[in-house]
């Protein structure tokens, strides 16, 4: 019996691994079809996807609101940036691990007081954290480079990869492609880890704490520890996302992590679908290509992009989308797909039952 159970777990993990691999390969293939500028946008979207995965886990799965994820992202970004600035030859994987740990630690520090707070107090506490990060980065100039930030070496594209490209812009195309593919790969791995976590014992405990903390305590779940763990995991993902963002852009500056980034992350997560894995990917895609969408809408409507209206179009569109999503699809775009599926299923079963009556 026990043997069977463990087998089933293994099977689902393997199935998850397979589907995540396939998705990653599809994303890699798409990157080959996209022009280099879109590849660079895709790389940024991949980094943001990782951050949203963590945020979705924290808010959707453990029920704790955080406006601090741009701060956790900045911690990871600076950890990676400061390390790589001084140790340019360290393998990338080490830089990523370091940033993940740094993110986790910052999550732990914030979680200890935060898990005693709920609702708006928690939001306020985490907001204060992300508000404090930018001035910290600006003022410890000798470590962080101040407002100018730190700059690193760009990723070096292996020569075998450059051989796939030709023409006068071969290197440029290859570099953009390589960066995007690396980012997609890191996002794919993160997605796999989070998918497993979602479906793990911890994941289930997390949901129980969210839905009914009294029941959770009754079955022996340590509330404080579980909530803290949620923060630590979310912050480590944010840290990794920040590090990836730093590596692909070869620079880290305080301007990258304004307070508004936390709000943007939250918006993207809601649009994609709170507490869903695919929602994080959708959020990442929206982040990557929103500027193109805005340009397109400005062109369609004939709005001058440098006018007051045109310049604020992004805010207008996302504000409207957010409201519409909250009203009509509270589980976001990812939830919409599931809702449609459920609807079809009910209809099919309704049809089946009516034919049975006939």
């Amino acid at each position: 019996m026990n043997f069977l159970k463990s087998l089933r777990v293994q099977e689902t993990t393997r199935a998850r691994l397979l589907s995540v691999s396939v998705l990653t390969i599809v994303a890699l293939a798409i990157s080959f079809l996209l022009p280099p500028v879109a590849d660079s946008q895709m790389a940024g979207g991949a980094a943001i996807t990782i951050v949203i995965l963590g945020l979705s886990w924290l808010i959707g799965w453990s029920g704790q609101i955080s406006l601090g994820n741009s701060g956790f992202m900045a911690v990871g970004a600076y950890a990676a940036g400061i390390w790589a600035h001084h140790h340019a030859t360290t393998p990338l994987i080490f830089t990523f691990l370091l940033a993940t740990v740094a993110g986790a630690l910052s999550g732990l520090i914030i979680a200890i007081p935060s898990t005693r707070l709920r609702g708006p107090y928690l939001a306020g506490m985490t907001l204060a954290f992300s508000a404090a990060i930018t001035p910290l980065a600006q003022n410890f100039t000798s470590v962080t480079g101040g407002e100018g930030g730190l700059f690193l070496n760009s990723l070096s594209t292996p020569s075998w990869f450059v051989h796939f490209f030709s023409g006068p812009n071969a290197t440029i195309d290859a570099n953009a492609q390589w960066t995007a593919d690396l980012a997609v790969l890191v996002a794919g791995i993160s997605f796999f880890l989070m998918a497993n976590l979602f479906h793990s014992r911890t994941g289930r405990a997390m949901r129980l704490v969210r839905d009914n903390d009294v029941a959770a305590e009754l079955v022996g779940i340590n509330l404080g520890r579980t909530r803290t763990l949620a923060f630590v995991v979310a912050a480590s993902f944010a840290g990794l996302g920040g590090a990836l963002y730093t590596v692909i852009n070869a620079t880290v500056t305080p301007q990258t992590f304004p307070l508004t980034l936390s709000i943007t992350l939250l918006t993207l997560m809601v649009l994609g679908g709170i507490g869903t894995l695919s929602g994080a990917v959708i959020g990442g895609i929206i982040y990557a290509f929103s500027a193109n969408l805005v340009d397109h809408i400005n062109a369609l409507t004939g709005v001058n992009p440098t006018s007051n209206l045109g310049a604020n179009m992004q805010g207008i569109i996302f504000g409207a989308l957010l409201i519409l999503t909250m009203i009509f699809a509270p589980r976001g775009i990812a939830g919409m797909g599931a809702a449609v599926q459920r609807l079809r299923k009910t209809r099919r079963s309704a049809l089946a039952s009516s034919s049975a009556v006939d």
Binding site: F32, S166, P168, P254, A311
Partner: protein, 451 residues
Amino acid sequence: MIKGRLTRTVTLLAASALTLGFAATGVGLSSAGAATATPGVTANSITIGATVPLSGIAVSYAEVSASANAVFNYINKHGGVNGRRIKYIRLDDCYNLAAFGLGCTAGPSTTTLSQTQVLVAQDHVFATVGSLGTAAQDSVLSYMKTNGVPQLFVNSGSSDWSQPSTYPNLFGFQASYQVEGKVFAQYIKTHDKGKSVGFIGQNDDFGAGGYAGLVNGGINIASDNHLSYNAADAVTGSISDIATDVSTLQSNGAKVVVLDSIPAFTSAILATAHQDGYSPQWIISSVGSDPISVNSPYEANAITFDSLPATNDKSNPWTPWLRSIILADKTDFPKFTAKSPMDGNMQYGAAFAVAFAETLKAEGKTVTRAGFVKTLESTKLATLTITPLQYSKSNHQGVLGGVIANISPNGSAAPIYFNEPSHVVYTTGNSKNTPIKTLPYVVSPIPAWLK
């Protein structure tokens, strides 16, 4: 069963997408004919670009690239350079502060890097020419290097631009902030001997470089008089850092205050100080002193540094030349009239545009990136600068000196002009031990082909 079908479908999708992807790359392979061509260069055109603030907190600098564009258009109308028309693409990067709004109209997700990626990977520019901002251009150093695209005449006095062994294709344009700071130091030691000196600088390499120059020049600034502001903090509207900085210097009794600030902040600092009844001797970096950009009545009698001719110097042939170019085609300056004052931004843009065109002309009919860099390192350029512009294998900074100027009100009303009382050009190196020397004030003649 359903799960199996799904997996199969997705796998099939992935496989076909991959095939398509490689097929697309294959298309690239088959069009390999132009492998030796230089990006951005055709038989009758050369495409270059720049990321510049066309909106936002540093919008006053928009004139710089507009002036460069006016010069390129003038050259194009007269047959271009060696038969090639210069196409200059300017993209707004909002001083790399778009995320903070601050009047930026380029969209909140715009960064200097994202706009540079458009120039390099989409527009395939030959080089960026005259991109602006210390922190902004620092953020694309690696990207430009990795992709082998020359980064020419960066509009900033950071010494980051002169690292030929690390960044062989990177060139600055103006004198370094360290040099400027050292020259200011000498001025203070002569004219304001023994007075307490305060400093407010931008919290990036601009402020750091200027401060280092003052210290290397022998000026002692007490640590509580060494203050800074963050350009991004203007988001609050009140620019709170500045109010604190100004009142700190006032209560510390600083009699001389050096500013390494961009025009919007210079203006805010001067206004705040006036409000507080504080009037020290202002010494302002050339980057933030252009009277028309600062547009403040409180700037009169400030001291600044200038590597370009005085804007009201009628004896300098470049001034009427640039004026006539702008008046002949007002695309870039629709509001400019025969009575409008010329400003330092216009001179600056024209100066690097002429330098670019001259180098291109000197390189000859065959244009490559390596060839351009080599030509630039070995050609004495005749342009608006008051010291010869001569890059070399070891000097990628650009202009190496300038005059001390003061800003005088033109009668009672604005505009106010630079006044260069003595035509003495000071030069020095970045380090503490290089002495300050004087150079002759040079007015380069306008090359015949540009007339």
